[in-house]
């Protein structure tokens, strides 16, 4: 059913994201990574392709971080008490599946791991 306010226009049906929602980075743990990415975009006239390595690094940062509690608002009924378990800022996903396969194939030696 449409609200019928837009005569003749098709209904725009928003679709949920394939892999769900990002938890908020309340403590800015990946802000530095984001800033490097944004600086790269500014330097490259906002050509996204020029900064894919940094976008990959940002997503890796998220995967490495956990935030307590997940959603602070208990989900819809039945209500569960808040439990402080670690929730990642992004679920682990092989980077090849996130469209970075070509970047990974280019660099067969692993990037230095954070200690």
């Amino acid at each position: 059913m449409s609200t019928a306010m837009n005569f003749g226009a098709k209904n725009f049906k928003p679709r949920p994201p394939d892999k769900g929602a990002f938890p908020l980075d309340h403590f800015g743990e990946c802000s530095a990574s984001k800033e490097r990415f944004m600086e790269c975009l500014r330097r490259n006239d906002f050509q996204s392709g020029a900064c894919r390595e940094l976008s990959m690094a940002y997503l890796q940062c998220r995967m490495e971080r956990q935030v307590p509690g997940g959603s602070p608002f208990p989900p819809a009924p039945p209500r569960r008490p808040l439990v402080f378990v670690g929730v990642q800022l992004m679920a682990n996903e092989p980077l090849e599946k996130l469209g970075f396969k070509d970047l990974i194939d280019e660099k067969p030696e692993a990037k230095p791991q954070k200690s």
């Binding site: 394939d18 929602a21 980075d25 990415f37 894919r52 959603s71 608002f73 996130l98 970075f100």
Partner: protein
């Protein structure tokens, strides 16, 4: 952005009030016909997000434009696609209805 290539974009949200706000966002794409080619892998939308008083957070969207976009003659003149988000304040127990579904 190249069709088929994954891309990252950031929005920023601030809660300027002195109370926490729980919000839900939904999105819109213009031009309308390009929306079918816009694929979100992960974003901050559709789920409740809490912003504490005066808190400012980065909101990432990880997406790609379907490569079929480049094959669609109706999209030949489209070189700018605009993605916008609207935040609604969530009421307790509220679910954001997807438009078109009742």
């Amino acid at each position: 952005v190249v069709p088929g290539e994954t891309a990252l974009a950031f929005y920023k949200a601030k809660n300027p009030t002195d109370k926490p706000i729980i919000g839900i966002s939904t999105y819109n794409v213009v031009p309308f016909e390009a929306g079918q080619y816009f694929n979100k892998i992960q974003c901050f939308c559709f789920e409740e997000q809490r912003l504490n008083p005066q808190e400012e957070v980065d909101m990432p969207v990880f997406f790609y434009i379907d490569p079929e976009f480049a094959e669609d003659p109706k999209m030949a003149k489209v070189d700018l696609i605009t993605l916008s988000y609207t935040f609604f304040e969530a009421k307790e127990g509220q679910h954001l209805p997807l438009p078109g579904y009742q």
